[in-house]
């Protein structure tokens, strides 16, 4: 099955993993220590993130380190940001309207 990046970030644990490895490359064990979940569950999340090309693996000695593909993340951000901004603008305008009405009613 073909994964897509939006599915990857739809899960809260995967979002947390992304935040973790954004700072530094980490091994699956080190990542798993941050969650109340099994090592298997973390491996599954890492596999999905890898399939979505959001993370990359790097072999260092006997350990595999996972790190974030920053450019891929930016792709999602750019797309979603546009919708977020529509709502942000809309609601900032509503703040202004509410403030005006409140003053009129005083």
């Amino acid at each position: 099955m073909r994964r897509d990046i939006f599915q990857a970030v739809a899960d809260p644990t995967r979002r947390a993993i992304i935040v973790l490895i954004a700072m530094q490359a980490m091994t699956p064990n080190a990542i798993a220590e941050n969650f109340n979940t099994t090592r298997q569950a973390v491996s599954k999340h890492l596999r999905i993130l890898t399939e979505c090309e959001l993370v990359k693996q790097e072999q260092r000695g006997r350990e595999i380190y996972y790190s974030l593909e920053i450019d891929k993340m930016k792709e999602i951000d750019k797309w979603i940001e546009q919708f977020r901004k529509i709502w942000e603008t809309r609601f900032n305008q509503l703040d202004e309207v509410l403030s005006t009405i409140k003053k009129q009613r005083k």
């Binding site: 939006f6 599915q7 901004k85 529509i86 309207v97 403030s99």
Partner: protein, 164 residues
């Protein structure tokens, strides 16, 4: 203004968009702002676009038929059909794009808006179901992305002034 909660998530797999926002106003006022034509038209369209409601009947089975109007006068029509209303708590509608003669372009998306008040602040949670990529892309094509940065900066300044 940044102390007001704003949360926006897109779950593309589930075709769902969730937006939560706090407002520094009483629930009854915020409710009016979402359900009254005169107030809605003042904020619904991101500037420099304008919202122009042709007719609106806020009741179950009723409809809002409105256009987002560009600075050049281009009109993008939409229909909102109200399917459920629990006064000052929740309302739901089906939203579809339409032509100027009120013919809908199906399918649409299902909107669910919940309101709650705490410590004088009102929280609004909006969930949009069946929001397809195509519809979201269309919103962008309509040109809403332009002019945002400037507008946002202006608004931030304005709000700071208003707060003083």
């Amino acid at each position: 203004m940044n102390s007001l909660l704003f949360d926006f998530t897109v779950d593309k797999a589930a075709k769902t968009v969730r937006i939560t926002r706090e407002f520094d106003a009483a629930l009854s006022l915020v409710w009016d702002a979402f359900t009254t034509q005169e107030i809605l038209d003042q904020w619904w369209a991101p500037k420099p676009w304008a919202s122009r409601t042709k007719h609106m009947d806020f009741k179950v089975g009723g409809r809002r038929f409105y256009a987002m109007v560009s600075p050049e006068g281009q009109e993008n029509w939409s229909i909102q059909d109200y399917t459920s209303i629990s006064p000052k708590t929740n309302f739901k509608y089906l939203s579809v794009f339409a032509d100027k003669d009120e013919n809908p372009f199906l399918p649409g998306s299902n909107w669910d808006l919940s309101f709650s008040e705490q410590h004088g602040r009102t929280s609004v949670s909006i969930t949009i179901y069946n929001e397809s990529l195509e519809r979201m892309e269309k919103m962008l094509e309509m040109g809403f992305k332009e002019g945002f940065t400037m507008t946002l900066n202006e608004l931030a300044e304005l709000l700071t002034t208003l707060k003083k």
